[in-house]
């Protein structure tokens, strides 16, 4: 009775993982921003969050000014905003609903309860005093999902697609974080070398849960170059772009050989190319030539890889508009850059 995984399920499980990963990253970024990203006068620049996700247009249709309150509401509770935590978790829950024949009951129940809890939140739950606890609970719920999945999900073809989704989303999120923060955090004259400047860089690391790992590696000072190098090229840090791509590459190779699949060659070539790109230059060279263009190139590669998966495994047509396929999977959850 065992047969190859339904193409639609592969698509759906890939996006389930991406949606949860996205929610977790967003919670991390908002949390750290709230806590640590203050300049010497104690001000925060909440606009940078909106820029991070290229959401300026949609955000300013709803809000006149990027106040803390408005940005938090937009990214946590606003179900109409496709890049909010609520939307990511709702999409993950819808993915899980479609995948119920495939995933474990525990995976479904955890996501169902998680979504119902988020959906019941109201504006006053975003009061300054409780924010840290809220973000922690979201982060933990996402990590619980990962743990429940690790412990209960049957290891067949779908497991590979799940993990590939998680790593490609994580790589993407890390590049976004670095892209926007790097420019924002380039030191202004008055702040150079000051305690405030250092706290910005450590906040960036904390967003990616990399502060302590970084400290172990670099006992001397935190410099922009080192932080960027760590997040992009480190081979051991679980959220670095290089590690995510290595994992992805290994998963794809194993999936293809274990199940003798015909598809996936184009994605494998694309990931090889991207890994070569990462290995080709030192972080100093990358920064010298321009970090933004470099990150842009990585992101375009990531999109290309996803598109290869869509065509080879998920049953999409090469030139087809995304709208013609399964409802909540790709198109409504894809970041603006993929649409």
């Amino acid at each position: 009775m065992s047969s190859s995984l339904l193409a639609r399920y592969a698509d759906c499980i890939f996006w389930l993982a991406r949606n949860v990963e996205r929610a977790e990253n967003l919670a991390r970024i908002l949390d750290v921003h709230e806590t640590f990203s203050r300049d010497s006068r104690g001000n925060q620049n909440w606009l940078s969050i909106v820029q991070l996700y290229s959401d300026e247009k949609r955000f300013f249709e709803k809000h006149a000014v990027a106040t803390a309150e408005a940005v938090l509401r937009f990214y946590v509770l606003d179900g109409e905003n496709p890049t909010s935590i609520l939307s990511a978790v709702r999409n993950a829950r819808e993915n899980a609903r479609t995948l119920r024949p495939l995933i474990s009951t525990e995976m479904w129940v955890q996501l169902n309860v998680f979504y119902n809890r988020l959906n019941a939140l109201e504006a006053h739950d975003l009061s300054p005093g409780g924010l840290n606890r809220l973000f922690n609970s979201i982060k933990e719920a996402c990590q619980t999902h990962t743990g429940v999945t690790e412990g209960t999900f049957y290891r067949d073809q779908s497991w590979y697609f799940y993990q590939m989704g998680r790593y490609i989303e994580r790589a993407d999120q890390t590049t976004r974080l670095l892209d926007i923060k790097y420019h924002l955090l380039l030191p202004r004259d008055a702040d150079v070398g000051s305690a405030v400047d250092l706290s910005h860089w450590s906040a960036l690391l904390r967003s990616a849960a990399g502060y302590h790992a970084f400290r172990r590696l670099h006992t001397s000072s935190i410099t922009p170059t080192r932080v960027a190098g760590f997040l992009l090229l480190n081979q051991s840090f679980p959220r670095s772009v290089a590690l995510c791509l290595n994992e992805f590459d290994g998963l794809l190779t194993e999936l293809k050989s274990r199940y003798v699949l015909r598809g996936g060659n184009a994605a494998a070539e694309a990931i090889d190319e991207l890994r070569s790109l990462l290995q080709a230059h030192s972080i100093e060279t990358i920064l010298h030539r321009g970090l933004h263009d470099y990150i842009d190139l990585i992101q375009r590669h990531l999109i290309a890889i996803t598109n290869h998966l869509r065509m080879d495994f998920f049953g999409h047509q090469p030139d087809a508009d995304m709208d013609d396929q399964a409802g909540q999977n790709s198109q409504t959850t894809a970041p603006a850059t993929e649409a």
Binding site: M1, S3, S4, L5, L6, A7, R8, Y9, A10, E94, R97, T98, R100, P101, T105, W108, V109, N112, V113, N116, Q157, F161, Y259, L261, R262, G263, D312, F313, F314, G315, A326, G327
Partner: protein
């Protein structure tokens, strides 16, 4: 006695003139004694836990209202409905007989039509039926099994006799609740279940997939079975998921399937995989835009060609809706005698077919005593219950009857049996019915018990989930 917390469950429970499933059943003694040891508060606490579990598990059905889709849990009553072994033996035999007669009827209708030649039933009732499918004419099915999954709705009258209220021979739903209700009871009331000796229900998925393999096209060693669902927005999606899991088969939607050379394939990550049997939870008219409704987005273009070529089995077969028509129902006792030369084991409820002038006249004359039902509707919609109706409702019913008599049947009101049911913080009698599920491949097997639906509104006779009904765990004793 005013302190509610010390009241035990059945204190103050008075079923009145109705037949009570709990008090009138001597074999339920043990269950009754154990319930008596529980306080209402304890029962309420466990019921509340069970409800929140249902919500967390997402065991829901979807109700559509003003274009809004709302996920609701089917209300679950924790006091079980107990059926004695002897009573069950009768029900089981009656259901098997009924399914056999329905399958014979369909085989005959789609082949020689002897039934019509012998004048057992008016030809236009079958041939003019909206669910009659001419394309099935001459199609041979393994074991003549048209209705592989059948739900037979039974009620119990004031004397305690079971009667058939209607047959569901298309895509009967509700079996997932039978099994989930049992699991819920096992978790919430282990102390109530221990040593009672209850027939298990959790091999339903296994029996179903076994029957699906039996009806596969000949010569296929390991048939690939799938469940075809309309998708996540269907009100019964939870059940589709449940059954696919219990059967260990893929749950597919129309666009996952494709027809090539009159064979069915599903799209996988490694290309197309051949499909041999489809348990479809989609009505005939949506299955294939080429053969039926051209606007259906849910089906598979060309599926009927593959079906007629004998390259795929469908469960239930196409065109079974003729058999569960409410007007055809009236002829079932005669149909049973005609094909099986047996008396019906389970009687019908007396039925007046309003297309017949005498029956129409009788119905109009006794409108305030009768239940009038449209023949085409399911889900308890459009029913007028004479004794409960207002003058305006009766007049409205009369107008509709006169405008289109053949769309209606009428039946006497049955004094349905009741079962003790937790309502708020009290236990009160509520009317129940029973839907056993029969699976037919080579032979027919009946799941012990079935879905006991309970009308939660006081005095209400309508048990449908879409009309405020709930369900109970049904214990068939060994």
């Amino acid at each position: 006695m005013t302190d509610e917390r010390t009241d035990s469950v059945l204190d103050g429970y008075v079923p009145g003139e109705f037949y009570c499933e709990m008090l009138r059943n001597p074999e339920a003694d043990k269950v009754r004694e154990r319930l008596a040891k529980l306080s209402i508060t304890e029962l309420r606490r466990r019921a509340t836990d069970a409800e929140s579990e249902l919500y967390n598990l997402g065991i829901t059905f979807t109700v559509y209202s003003d274009n809004l889709a709302i996920d609701r849990i089917l209300p679950f009553d924790v006091i079980p409905r107990v059926i004695a072994a002897k009573e069950w033996a009768l029900i089981e035999a009656g259901v098997i007989q009924r399914v056999a007669a329905i399958n014979e009827l369909l085989h005959d209708l789609y082949h020689d039509q002897n039934l019509l030649k012998d004048g057992i039933i008016p030809a236009e009732l079958l041939l003019g039926n909206a669910n009659y499918r001419p394309l099935m004419q001459g199609v041979d099915l393994p074991y003549r099994s048209y209705v592989n999954i059948c739900g037979t709705d039974l009620v119990r009258n004031a004397e305690g006799g079971f009667m058939v209220l209607e047959d569901n021979a298309r895509t009967p739903s509700g079996v997932s609740y039978v099994i989930e209700n049992r699991h819920l009871m096992q978790r919430a009331f282990p102390d109530l279940l221990t040593d009672i000796g209850i027939r298990p229900v959790d091999n339903y998925g296994f029996k179903l997939v076994q029957a699906m393999r039996e009806i596969a096209p000949k010569g296929i060693e390991e048939p690939q079975v799938v469940l075809l669902s309309p998708g996540t927005y269907n009100s019964a999606y939870f059940e589709h998921v449940f059954l696919a899991r219990e059967m260990g088969i893929p749950l597919v939607e129309g666009h996952d399937l494709v027809i090539r050379d009159d064979r069915v394939y599903m799209r996988t990550i490694d290309g197309l995989t051949r499909i041999d049997v489809i348990y479809r939870r989609l009505n005939d008219e949506f299955l294939d835009p080429e053969a039926f409704r051209p606007d259906s987005m849910l089906g598979v273009r060309g599926l009927m060609r593959a079906y007629k070529a004998g390259n795929v089995a469908l469960a239930n077969a196409i065109g079974t809706g003729v058999a569960d028509d409410k007007a055809v129902y009236a002829y079932m006792p005669r149909i049973i005698k005609y094909y099986l030369a047996e008396e019906p084991i389970l009687p019908n409820v007396e039925t007046h077919i309003c297309r017949e002038p005498d029956a129409l006249k009788y119905t109009l004359d006794h409108l305030d005593e009768l239940v009038v039902k449209p023949v085409g509707e399911a889900g308890g919609y459009g029913i007028t219950i004479g004794p409960r109706a207002t003058k305006e409702e009766l007049e409205d019913c009369r107008t509709k009857l006169l405008a289109d008599p053949s769309n209606y049947i009428s039946q006497p009101t049955i004094s349905l049996s009741v079962s003790p049911t937790l309502i708020g913080n009290a236990v009160e009698p509520r009317h129940v019915d029973l839907r056993p599920f029969a699976i037919t491949g080579e032979k027919t097997w009946v799941l012990p018990g079935g879905l006991s639906r309970v009308a939660l509104r006081k005095g209400s006779l309508i048990v449908n989930s879409s009309q405020g009904g709930g369900s109970k765990d049904t214990w068939v004793l060994e």
